[in-house]
Structure formats: C-alpha cells, structure tokens
C-alpha cells in the first residue's frame, strides 16, 4: 500500500499540473548547466530538480528586492532598471552586475554607466 504522505510535499509544490511539482522545465535547466563550462561532464538526475527549486527562490528574492526599488520610485510596474538597482544593492547578486549593466548600456544606445560600487567584505 502506497503512503500518500510521502508524495504530498513534492506533488503539491508545483505551480500547475502541466509541470508536475516543478514550475521550471528540468530539461532546459540541464542544458543551461551543460553550457556553463567545458568541464561539466555528467549531471545527476537530482541536480536539475534541486535547481528548479533554487531558481524559484532566486527569482522570488530578486523580484521582491526589485519591487522595493519600484515602490521607492512611486511606480507599480516593475522595470528592468528596478532589477538592475536591486542587483547593485545586494552583495550576493554581484555576479550579475555585468549582465544588468550591459543590458542597460545596450538600451541607452551604448552609453556607459559608471558605477562606483564598493563592496566591503565584513566577513
């Protein structure tokens, strides 16, 4: 006899039935992992599953912080500038600064934003 409880945590976690418990497509996550470097050889079946959840947390955190920027700007529409501001303001998102900056530069027709952001490591 199957224990229903064993599955409930995973099965109820999803956003829609179409993707089961995972709201992000596992095959796509795996492809992105593969493309992250030459030395990524084999990926266990559990790794994309863990990432699907980690990416949810990441999206939620960056969205939440971006929304704070939008609110401070007296707006109710989230813009990409809000994401850029949130990235700049948050240490753990440092690895995204180049990405959101080049995105902005492109939008402004090549204008370069000079950001003097110093991260002081207090650890």
């Amino acid at each position: 006899m199957r224990q229903a409880g064993a599955y409930s945590g995973l099965l109820c976690g999803g956003v829609s039935g179409r993707t089961g418990p995972h709201s992000l497509p596992l095959a796509r996550i795996k492809k992105i992992m593969k493309n992250s470097g030459e030395d990524v050889k084999m990926i266990s079946g559990e790794a994309p599953i863990i990432f699907s959840k980690a990416c949810e947390l990441f999206i939620e955190e960056l969205t939440r912080r971006s929304w704070i920027m939008a609110i401070q700007g007296k707006r109710r529409t989230l813009h990409k500038e809000d994401l850029a501001s949130a990235v700049i303001a948050t240490d753990i998102f440092d690895f995204l600064i180049t990405l959101v900056s080049s995105s902005e530069s492109h939008a402004v027709g090549g204008a370069t934003n000079v950001m003097e952001v110093e991260t002081i490591d207090c650890s």
Binding site: R2, A6, Y7, G9, L10, V15, R18, T19, G20, P21, H22, S23, P25, L26, A27, R28, I29, K30, K31, I32, M33, K34, N35, S36, E38, D39, V40, K41, M42, I43, S44, G45, A47, I50, S52, K53, A54, C55, L57, F58, I59, E60, L62, T63, S66, W67, T77, L78, H79, K80, D82, L83, A84, V87, I92, F93, L96, L99, V100, S103
Partner: protein, 144 residues
C-alpha cells in the same frame, strides 16, 4: 544515480558551437508566473523586466554549476549531484537557499527510495500506472 536522458547526458552541447537562443534561457512564461506570485495583485511587470530576469536566472544556474563542477573536478568525480549544488550555493553566499535545498534534496531522495519500493511491489501492474508515476516524479516540465 540515474542521469536524465540516458546516454545523451554525455553529450557536450558546446560541441555544436551555436547555442539555440531558446535553449539558453528558461521560458519567459514560467519566469513571469513566478515573479507575479511574489508581488501584490495590483503590480505589473514589464516585458523587459521578465527578459532581464530570464538572463539573471540562467547566469545564476551557470554561476552555481561552475562552482559545483570545479569541486567535482578537484575530487576527481565526473557527475555533478545535488549535494554539490547545495555546497556551491552555500559557498557563493546563498546560505539562505542551501539549507532549504538540502531538505528538499533529502525529501526527493526519500521519495525516490519509496517509489522504487512501490515499483517493485507493483511489478505485475499495468505499464500505464508505472508510467504515470514516473511522469509525476520526473516530469521534465512542459513550459506554457
């Protein structure tokens, strides 16, 4: 540990040279839905914000995967697994994610073990039923 896609997991997509644009990012509909559910109901999200988030998520996956695979290389292991991902998250400053991810990983492994037991017991059952269970457990996800 079983690899998704069988032997294809040995393929290196980089050998193809050009990476398909759609394969480089997660689907914008899935990303947009996750963003929306964390915001107030009256909030709106511009398309550019969704596109920027798509880029950020892919960068996040690559960033963490690179750290995890480097650990595997040093330990002379070939397969990146869930523990490596959790370790990399903690190492890169995502401490708040690493602990819930470890719990998620443990729960997933328990389900795997339990499912294997159920599978053995149901050896005589119809293939459709097993396929249904496998579909639920390891669904690859069909983006909208």
């Amino acid at each position: 540990m079983e690899d998704i896609g069988g032997s294809s997991s040995n393929d290196n997509n980089n050998n193809g040279g050009i990476i398909k644009e759609q394969d480089r990012l997660l689907p914008i509909a899935n990303v947009g839905r996750l963003m929306k559910r964390i915001l107030p109901q009256n909030a709106k999200i511009s398309k550019e914000a969704k596109e920027t988030m798509q880029e950020c998520v892919s960068e996040f996956i690559s960033f963490v995967t690179s750290e995890a695979s480097e650990k595997c290389r040093k330990e002379r292991r070939k397969t990146v697994n869930g523990d490596d991902i959790c370790w990399a998250l903690a190492t890169l400053g995502f401490d708040n994610y690493a602990e819930p991810m470890r719990r998620y990983l443990h729960r997933y492994r328990e389900v795997e073990v339990d499912h294997n037991k159920v599978n053995l017991q149901e050896k005589g059952n119809s293939p459709e039923e097993k396929d249904d269970e496998l579909f639920k457990l390891s669904n690859r996800g069909v983006g909208l």
